[in-house]
Symmetry: C2
Subunit: 428 residues, 2 copies
């Protein structure tokens, strides 16, 4: 991990080893830590016995290797015992804060996702279900791609068609709602709960939301629900978790524990000691679940704003089969973009309008800009979140037979992503 | 306006004329309306005497011209009289719902923005100030461009350095917050209030918010404030308006009257009968206001999401001097974008990170993705809204001498756009 001058001075010492760095009259003793990502090759970092890390400038320094790295105590936890009458819940690890543990010897983050480790960290889970945990992969959620969505969908199907009563997917929070939407569109004939859960604060912090979120998610996985949902803190206290429909939820704060909000729809449930489900939802039933994991990846999410360069949209029309516009207000974009949108129509691209306000519904009949865009073939995205419309368009372009079917599927509520218009909502 | 077959049948009849359309045994009499934008050339639209519009299919029809269009009664309102002791407030019209009036004779929307028309519509304004209204232009706010921002800034300066006590800018709501941010960065040594106001429902609707918003905005224009603010409904009832700092406000609903919300900061005031200002704000003072209207227009606002095409960012690096990233969570983007960001740095582009969560602050030191991005020279956007950071970067790239000054200005609070970190906010 160290390179250049630092590597020379270390003379083969490995991260995790106990070393002494002697520099003139001074010496520093501790565990060699990984190089700081922002560090140059002139410093090495050690953790002192008092717990602090220090960086030592290595010019004129000499390193003594004291003792090898302590072997990591994997699976040091006892195998948990579960009551046979409890339902079985599978927890799939994909990465993110909730699945990470900081190794205090080396400062490295590594996945902690064996069943034994999870039950050791959150013993309450054993009272709810027979937990079966495994890691699919371990990535930060900003690095999730459609390839990962497909893999998760396939693994969820295996579990649901096996002995699991429900599945919990532990996931980084940054793009959890994209993955949730993708699962909601891909999973067909869903008969059991699929619950995404994450944490905003890692489990080494006193304010961590990891345990409460995981307990609530596991409860929901044993509930009567047969939908894809996100379960996260409902408030900034530790009182309750909210159950959000995966196609209606969005991360609305960078750091708060109650960052996830249902937009344009209320949450569909709340978890305290028990799971309470509200309103209408799809109920648990019998039958095989399957996944249609086809996704057209040549889709772009395009934000419109004053001064936006029409050439950028022309570039998208050249490259992509579908474009979701994040417009303004009721569904508008600057008229400088109209020529590109007209060409998109002429070249058979699907163009869907959503709004940067996030809240509220697109209504393109109120103002002339909207009417002109409708006339250019733009599909109004109703009250879909821009991010959800993007994932839906990837799905729809892959499964529809022709342009007409693309349009009709985009306008139809497939997985709770469009709230039905009960009243004409521009009329109140 | 009509063309093809419809134009032939109309035989020269103009929109606004009274006509009779005879079709076999039936005939329809009314005022000829403009062609529907979505209409073909086989229908003409007339407004019947009962007020309804109908479209008549013209095959086999004959049109009789009954009487010419009534001349539009411009300036039919009496010139208002103002009390000399009242302060003077200039209202500048730029377009949008608040400045539009539907002509019931022809259905056309036209600006209604003479002082006399405004006082006729909202007589309460005369109790607050000597109103002086004029139209700068009349466009839908989705069509605002940096060119319009400059024009508004220049006109505002003229008014403030003249006899006006404050200026109200009537503006469409879609991009009002962009214009507000642009004015906040461009106007220097501001000594009086600049108030943007709009309406979400046009004044022909019973639920219109136009009058209350305009009254509240005019009150704020006479207040002690010397900042650029947005004044709009505070709730969905007609009780109060909120005063939002222009660099902290965002349109958060497509249709509600209380769509505008201050993000990451409370509103700085409330207007009921009186204007109440809260917290710390810049106070009215003496002195010349001036505008620095330089803007670098080669700036893009780039949204990052799972599956985003790195080529799209490469294209932006080729074309623009500045890129504001709308990342995820604490300020992350997929690592597939890193090569483009590295090239941006190498080619001297400014890259600024903001977050799609809107609420909360970017903190790029918590996770490895953020640290790697900092190492690639990305400037953390603190708690700036993505749209505000975009406008600010246009301003900063135009005024800064070098890359170092771009960075330092982007990190400095220039016009209320960055909330100071009082406590390290990842530590709660």
């Amino acid at each position: 991990m160290y390179r250049g001058e630092a590597a020379k001075v270390l003379a083969g010492a490995k991260v995790g080893e106990r070393v002494r760095i002697v520099k003139g009259e001074r010496s520093y003793e501790g565990v060699l830590m990984p190089r700081s990502e922002l560090g140059d090759d002139r410093h090495v970092v050690i953790k002192l016995d008092n717990g602090y890390n220090i960086g030592v400038e290595i010019s004129g320094a000499r390193v003594e290797r004291l003792s090898p790295a302590e072997p990591r105590r994997q699976a040091a936890f006892p195998e948990p015992e579960f009551l046979p009458e409890k339902p079985e819940v599978t927890i799939l690890g994909t990465g993110g804060t909730i699945a990470s543990k900081i190794d205090y010897a080396t400062g490295a983050v590594h996945p902690s996702f064996s069943t034994a480790e999870i039950i050791n960290a959150v013993p309450e889970l054993a009272d709810i279900a027979r937990i079966k945990a495994r890691v699919l992969f371990n990535i930060l959620s900003e690095n999730m791609t459609p390839k990962h969505w497909r893999r998760i969908a396939e693994e969820v199907v295996k579990e649901l068609n096996g002995s699991a009563c429900g599945v919990v997917v532990a996931h980084g929070t940054d793009t959890m709602s994209y993955t949730g939407a993708a699962l909601a569109f891909m999973l067909k004939n869903l008969t059991k709960p699929v619950v995404l859960v994450g944490s905003q604060r890692s489990s080494d912090r006193p304010s961590s939301d990891a345990a409460l979120n995981l307990i609530a998610a596991t409860r929901v996985a044993t509930s009567d629900l047969a939908e894809v949902v996100v379960v996260m803190h409902a408030t900034s206290s530790d009182e309750a978790c909210a159950v959000h429909r995966a196609t209606k939820v969005r991360k609305m704060h960078s750091s708060r524990r109650d960052a996830f909000k249902s937009i344009n729809a209320p949450p569909i449930g709340e978890v305290r000691e028990e799971v309470k489900l509200f309103g209408s939802y799809r109920r648990r039933s019998e039958g095989e679940v399957y996944a249609d994991t086809r996704l057209e990846e040549r889709v772009a999410l395009f934000k419109a704003y004053p001064g936006v360069d029409p050439e950028l949209l022309e570039y998208c029309v050249d490259r992509y089969r579908g474009i979701v516009l994040e417009g303004t207000g009721l569904g508008h974009v600057p008229e400088q973009l109209f020529p590109a949108i007209e060409r998109a129509r002429d070249e058979g691209r699907a163009v869907v309008m959503t709004t940067s306000t996030l809240y509220g519904r697109v209504d393109m009949k109120v103002y002339s800009t909207g009417r002109r865009l409708l006339n250019l073939g733009v599909i109004p995205g109703e009250d879909m979140l821009p991010e959800v419309a993007y994932v839906k368009l990837m799905h729809v372009l892959a499964v529809a037979q022709d342009e007409e079917e693309v349009r009709s599927l985009m306008l139809r509520n497939l997985a709770g992503e469009i709230t039905p218009r009960t009243l004409p909502d521009t009329f109140y």
